[in-house]
């Protein structure tokens, strides 16, 4: 990747919009900042809880891919032991 003008020395996913799935079934979409001892820090995060959303994870992601992230949290830390998977949003096809 080119152009890390303002982000020298950061982790590979720094600045990349990712889909983070949790072991509890939540899905968060946001800009990856870093992973440290506290967990994964995301910025400008949209979240999906299947128990309250009324839509499926796939529909949530489909809408996010088309219209962008509807931000629920400016910053969010997901504890490391709750992270089930992290995938760049841009690489997703639904």
């Amino acid at each position: 990747m080119t152009g890390h003008v303002f982000h020298p020395g950061h982790q590979e996913l720094h600045g990349v919009t990712v889909v983070l799935d949790t072991t509890g079934g939540l899905t968060h979409v946001g800009r990856f900042h870093e992973q440290n001892d506290r967990g994964v820090l995301l910025h400008d995060v949209g979240s999906h809880d299947p128990s309250t959303a009324g839509t499926s994870r796939e529909e949530f992601l489909r809408r996010t891919l088309k219209f962008g992230i509807r931000v629920d949290h400016r910053h969010l830390v997901v504890p490391g032991d709750e992270v089930a998977g992290i995938t760049p949003l841009g690489g997703m096809t639904l």
């Binding site: 990349v16 219209f67 962008g68 760049p88 949003l89 841009g90």
Partner: protein, 144 residues
Amino acid sequence: MPYDPRLVQPMREEMVRMGARELTTVAEVDSALGDPKGTTLVFVNSVCGCAAGNARPALAHALKQVAKPDQVVTVFAGQDIEATARARQFFADYQPSSPSMALFKDGEVVHFVHRHQIEGRAPQAVAADLVAAFERHCAKTQAA
């Protein structure tokens, strides 16, 4: 807090060199986007090297092709805050991100490029998508 203007000046100049018109005030945005005729590309510029560092060269490449928008304008997120907020009102169905690009045809958004569609991709790949969008939506305007 905006970055030092001296730091972002080269990013502004990169846009101007490719033919984009900077919109730094609400009045300039309204003037540029208020007339719905023809095709207009709005580039939301950003200091982020991860994405904007690829998006600007991608657009520059796409604008060298035959089919291209009637006008290309740019606002700078985090710098020209009021102008950016006003521009985003014209494509309010799309959540804010930067960099991003909105292609208008006769006042309607016909193509949108989010930040996540730029991140991690080579400028040539982003440019190819833009060229396809320009050929689809702007070619007739060019031929007229």
